[in-house]
Subunit: 148 residues, 2 copies
């Protein structure tokens, strides 16, 4: 079993999601990986920044562009705990990222509800999902249950 597999990096995204949870934000986290190195991290900061576009993926992507000095990420993988929304899937399109790996689907806010049969991603982007899906979804359920 490889040490640096998709589960390994999704656990890192989950750590970011837990930081969001602790900050009373909807618990979604993301990391961008280049080879076996995490080059950026992000978690949902919509409330803290008072910015409804401050999603985990947006923060991680912009940090990755800055880190690499490149506006394209064809050799990188973004891991995110929950299916990206339409905005974030569009951002991933522009980044030309090599792979997108997400955990749990999001029937309400995920991109697929709007895009249907049309993929929002770049044709060269590989998509994987379902990695640690139960853990990623459970964190969301716990958050919303605690809110009620």
């Amino acid at each position: 079993m490889a040490m640096f597999d998709d589960e390994y990096f999704m656990r890192e995204a989950l750590r970011q999601a837990k930081l969001a949870y602790e900050a009373d934000e909807i618990p979604i986290g993301a990391v961008v990986v280049w080879g076996t190195k995490i080059i950026s991290r992000g978690y949902n900061q919509v409330e803290q920044l008072n910015d409804s576009t401050a999603h985990a993926e947006m923060i991680a992507l912009t940090a990755a562009f800055n880190q690499l000095g490149s506006k394209y990420l064809p050799e990188a993988t973004l891991y995110v705990t929950i299916e990206p929304c339409l905005m974030c899937s569009g951002a991933l399109y522009w980044s030309k990222i090599g792979r997108v790996v997400f955990g749990a689907t999001d029937v309400k806010n995920g991109y697929a509800r709007i895009t249907g049969e049309n993929s929002p991603f770049h044709p060269k982007t590989e998509l994987v999902h379902g990695i640690l899906a139960d853990e990623c979804a459970q964190l969301m359920k716990d958050f919303f249950a605690a809110k009620r």
Copy 2:
């Protein structure tokens, strides 16, 4: 004829687009208006910031959130010279903005190519397009013609 009509504010968005043009960026500009006041401006800065998500709308939206201290903009209007892409339409969704007014359609990169019959915007967002469409499109044509 009203002084502060959609054409007036679209001309302000066009001024932003021209700033992008002068900076050798794809010439798209945006402004966010609250009542008759422009509360934020943005133009495409993808090259300058080395960030493929630095679109006019994203910059103008984040500036508007900061300006108003609110992550929602239900009483504001965003004017943008070209049809928003999928990312920007998703960002506008999250902002719950009152109105979106765009100039020219973008058959290649506009949201409608992906979303088809499904609107990406919030149900409460009013959509208007075609304001100064020829001028908005011409600036893009001039830019790409000069690039060839």
